[in-house]
Symmetry: C2
């Protein structure tokens, strides 16, 4: 089975000429969706698609009704302030709209004249969350991350016995998910007492960290009580974004037993503004296979499709700027790089596992992958891992050191897909800034 079609032709060029610049990340083969408005403007947020350094206003295009059939229906669903209506449609609808947009934005398209007035400079827009997120679930799919974290607590036996059988996940907080550019005060809370039986500490977190993740936006949902078969799971996935699951390690260490993370995570989570569709990522599919020493997943988490092409080659990077680096005009420091293909569970497996008990998934729900650390040094997805839980500070190129995040630090996550002979497909950027704590 090939997932490729004419929208993936690497030779395609757009009449939006910035989309043809090598490595710009938003070529006509990408076409990610987001929600935008003019910066500081008074118009409503609305749905758009990114192309080069422009965004095409799909809410405005919908009023022109250029298409009929599934593409037309999908475009009408874009006459909205969020992507939820588009997400609620079927893969056939998503695919038809992608093809129609690809044709309309190609060099020589009859529609160029109609579309040009609907383009905005991406430098002049601001974003809202792409969707109204009903429920947010965060998983833990990097065995490298789970092992590194486990080592902090159980050096001889870092992985719990369920890890290689259960895609471990927990519910996160939807209300504090913000879009790239989010800034939030350092969280305050309780920390472990200095000695057993003493009163806990209380104050601003001293071990504030980021987590490098991808977000998976769900498309069509399921009926409450109905399971989603692994072979159908990807038809419920609309696309991917980048996710920073900010974490207060000291709050987490004291509060998390027995019910898991709560205030250590729910003060803020940041996502990138553009949702790159599953179809746009098709050229970067890879086999998803277990190592010989690992158990095969249970049958409900197994399919030929998943094994043959359930993984995605998505390159990830963490960068940091600080008050000092910005005042010196220094470039952001690259802290680590990793790849989504090293995850232990696939997106399809997460969807199927989440619904195996009949749990109802809905369009616009967000699944976090969990920290995407790789197997090697330099591939750690959090400061907890890079610094060995704060024991080994990192030196930044401009002379500062960090164990955990300081006030006014800005973390920038980036993700992109590359392969020879194909344009770079960018997932954009997810930036967020830690503000000083509000005084207690």
């Amino acid at each position: 089975m090939s997932f490729l079609n004419e929208t993936h032709d690497p030779a395609l060029q757009s009449w939006v000429t910035s989309a043809n610049v090598p490595d710009n990340g938003f070529p006509i083969q990408n076409l990610p969706y987001g929600v935008f408005r003019e910066k500081g403007g008074h118009h409503d947020f609305r749905v758009g698609v990114a192309i080069g350094d422009k965004v095409l206003d799909l809410a405005a295009l919908a009023l022109l009704s250029p298409w009929t059939g599934p593409a037309g229906e999908a475009l009408q669903a874009c006459d909205a302030q969020t992507l939820n209506k588009l997400m609620a449609l079927s893969p056939e609808h998503w695919s038809a709209l992608r093809l129609a947009l690809s044709k309309a934005l190609r060099e020589g398209s009859d529609l160029q004249g109609k579309l040009e007035p609907l383009l905005h400079d991406r430098a002049a827009i601001e974003h809202n969350l792409p969707a109204q997120i009903g429920d947010y679930t965060d998983f833990y799919i990097s065995v490298h991350h789970a092992t590194a974290v486990g080592k902090q607590f159980r050096p001889d036996n870092p992985l719990l016995p369920n890890y290689k059988w259960v895609p471990i996940g927990y519910h996160g907080r939807a209300s504090t998910i913000g879009v790239s550019g989010q800034a939030f005060p350092r969280p305050v809370g309780q920390t472990r007492p200095a000695e057993d039986g003493a009163a806990p500490g209380f104050g601003p977190s001293q071990r504030l960290d980021y987590e490098l993740e991808l977000g998976i936006f769900l498309g069509q949902g399921n009926q409450h009580g109905q399971r989603i078969d692994i072979r159908e799971a990807e038809s419920h996935v609309f696309g991917f974004c980048i996710l920073n699951d900010w974490s207060a390690r000291d709050l987490q260490a004291w509060e998390y037993q027995p019910l898991g993370p709560f205030l250590a995570k729910n003060f803020a989570s940041t996502i990138s503004p553009w949702v790159v569709t599953l179809e746009a990522l098709a050229p970067f599919r890879q086999p998803f296979q277990r190592a010989a020493e690992d158990p095969q997943p249970l049958p409900y988490l197994t399919s030929d499709e998943n094994r043959e092409h359930g993984a995605f080659d998505v390159e990830l990077e963490v960068l940091l700027t600080t008050e000092a680096s910005r005042s010196q005009g220094a470039q952001p420091a690259s802290l680590s790089r990793s790849n989504f293909r090293d995850a232990y569970w696939s997106a399809a497996q997460l969807v199927t596992h989440h619904s195996v008990n009949g749990c109802k998934l809905q369009p616009g729900d967000l699944l976090g992958t969990g920290t995407l650390s790789g197997p090697s040094q330099g591939e750690e997805g959090s400061l907890l891992e890079i610094t060995g839980n704060g024991r080994n500070p990192i030196k930044l190129p401009w002379g500062e050191e960090r164990t955990f995040l300081q006030d006014n630090d800005e973390v920038i996550l980036r993700a992109r897909c590359t392969k020879p002979g194909y344009p770079v497909i960018s997932l954009g950027e997810c930036a967020g800034t830690v503000l000083p704590a509000i005084p207690v």
Copy 2:
């Protein structure tokens, strides 16, 4: 400070005569809000207030605009399909609407003629969720429950060191919260392997349980990043309902480490349809105090107000019917009784703790108390506790036994407030039924 006003006068009688029947639970001193429509009807769900065996259609009343000022503004917020708009207003608004409704429904009211056509028989309506629930958080505030559960794992040291300092909570799933009458298939999932290293089990849960809880519906929210002071916390509480946090103990035991409950809980949660306001519960306030041997809460969780009247005397009961009992026409079996006043943390403390890190709370958010078990035998809020994790089956009056729930079992939770010289204030009923699992 007295929380009582003329709406709490026990002598008040309504021209809706069923509201004056002793112990009917919905007297003019109660006035809980909910969302309803005619059973099987095609009208939209809309906001109403219960009075005796009737419900008054507040969406219809809003069209008559009988009041100005805060009561009028609050009534206009009831011209809606959920309570969210009313919840988003202030305690002054809620109080003004309650007073206006109390006056309008009293014997001798001028408005009787206008209101009578807007009454519906409660026996002839169906309910929807009272609010669109943005985020659902479940706490763990019964020290008796936490101790009983801890004993299953750590007989000598059942309470974890954080319990008496941190109001332990975790995020639950909003999408599968249903209103009383909810029926759902028995969840399917992975269970602990028979021996270490073997493949886990997979199939319908064999240890399905209920949890007896109250739900706290939040009113006005906070700005992201801003803490809610303990002295202001109750102004963010709209009211209470009953909550059944269905739990699959065998799924939970295998999946819950290290990130807490997930599929073991998120297949369904059921709430009662009527939200009883904080003001309606004012006559049942009690001091909220720590035992001499317990640590005093940290200052951010401490206030004179909370100590003097932060607890509520709410009587809770669990009842069970089965296929056999219903076919025999037997009465539901009472499994246990407990009281909300025995909880270790107050509603105000939950709100303040939840926002201490800047987490954004929103109108319509639901907080679960966690299982409300009491200190004595007969006060266990779950089968896990009653049966000692399945070791000691209970005998039902009609001859059956239970360790955990069987297919077609119906669990009915009830809650009410009573005191001499005051009408019974009912929180209504929360019923739910376990259907057979969908075959794997």
